[in-house]
């Protein structure tokens, strides 16, 4: 955003950028930037907290009163994510003991996923690479990779990184309808990511496939972006 701030300001607009990483904002030096010490992915700080979001915007727009720039300030309220906890989200019981565990789990979550989407008037972030109907075949393909099949021959219908985003999104949105404490599911950034990677059959299968691809010499781009960079 800091580079685009320079571009738009140069074209005659007054800009104010919300910056997630202060070091980057300081380096690029946009005309006006408000750094928020918030989890990445949440530049307004807190979902479902209109008062907090309003305070962020008020602070950002206040920078428009400054007579000269560049201006870089940090919003005084932090939202930190120092916890290593995963979300408490009990998964449905197995439906079909003969199915691949991840497939059975994903099928069992379908009703929760659909309730979650309906609760947001149909808004979903799932579907960039997969349809719901493709999830079982994708999980079977990941299982084949774990069992030694070359990832290019395993039957993945799309780029592994795109598939990984869709799988975690399907689980995240299902979990929003299942979590014991829905507010906590959204309050704590990364809690659902930890739950997905550690506590679900699909998360563990996906990470095992990622490791198998790495061990088999797949290109860095093929496996690395299936998970956050610190994994």
């Amino acid at each position: 955003v800091c580079t685009l701030a320079h571009v738009f300001e140069g074209l005659g607009f007054a800009t104010v950028a919300l910056a997630s990483i202060r070091e980057q904002a300081a380096k690029v030096g946009p005309p006006r930037a408000l750094h928020g010490n918030f989890p990445l992915g949440r530049p307004l700080g807190r979902p479902n907290d209109s008062l907090f979001q309003n305070r962020v915007l008020t602070a950002a727009f206040a920078l428009l009163d400054r007579p000269r720039g560049p201006v870089l300030e940090t919003f005084p309220e932090s939202v930190s994510d120092v916890s290593e906890e995963a979300l408490v989200c009990h998964l449905p019981p197995r439906l079909d003991p003969n199915a691949l565990p991840a497939v059975d789990e994903a099928n069992a979550l379908q009703a929760a996923y659909r309730r979650s989407v309906a609760a947001r008037d149909g808004r979903t972030n799932f579907g960039r690479a997969l349809t719901e109907a493709q999830i079982p075949e994708v999980l079977a393909a990941l299982d084949r990779i774990v069992n030694g099949i070359d990832w290019k021959q395993a039957g993945l219908p799309a780029d592994p990184a795109q598939i990984a985003i869709d799988l975690r999104t399907y689980y995240f949105e299902a979990a929003l309808a299942l979590a014991e404490d829905p507010a906590r599911a959204t309050d704590t950034a990364w809690a659902l990511e930890r739950w997905f990677l550690h506590d679900t059959e699909t998360g563990r299968l996906m990470m095992a496939a990622r490791q198998a691809m790495k061990d088999a010499g797949a290109s860095f781009a093929a496996w690395f972006y299936m998970a956050p960079l610190d994994r």
Binding site: F8, K27, L40, R42, P47, R123, A227
Partner: protein, 149 residues
Amino acid sequence: VSDADIKRAVADIPAPTFDVSSFVIPKRLSDCKVAIVTTAGLHHEDQDAFAARDTSYRVLDGSRRDIRMGHWSPNFDRVGFAADLNVVFPIDRLNEMARAGVIGAVAPRHLSFTGNQDETMTSLRIDSGPHAAALLRADGVDVVLLTPV
């Protein structure tokens, strides 16, 4: 997974620097029309998704809420946006501020680019950025609020 570790890892990635920078003094905020320009790779359901390092942009209709997160990176939280799009694209907050008279108006159209660009960002700086900005100028926009993920 640690937010702090990811921030540390990306803090030093190369980015363009600018020797000369414009600085526009705006009208009073209560007279300004405001548009959002995001690098979150947002798009409507009927628009093309973003490719990795895509330098194009999407026009977001401020009256629609069928907005998807199209950014490729696994290195940011996606749950906040899934639960409340305003945490990235604060369209409802801007509408509230306009109704309260804090800002003059909310633009009808907003712009979305995607991050994960090459370090020079040349295409955005000389091509798609100015091209997209012309749409905001046509809508009478005064102030641009930029949001990342």
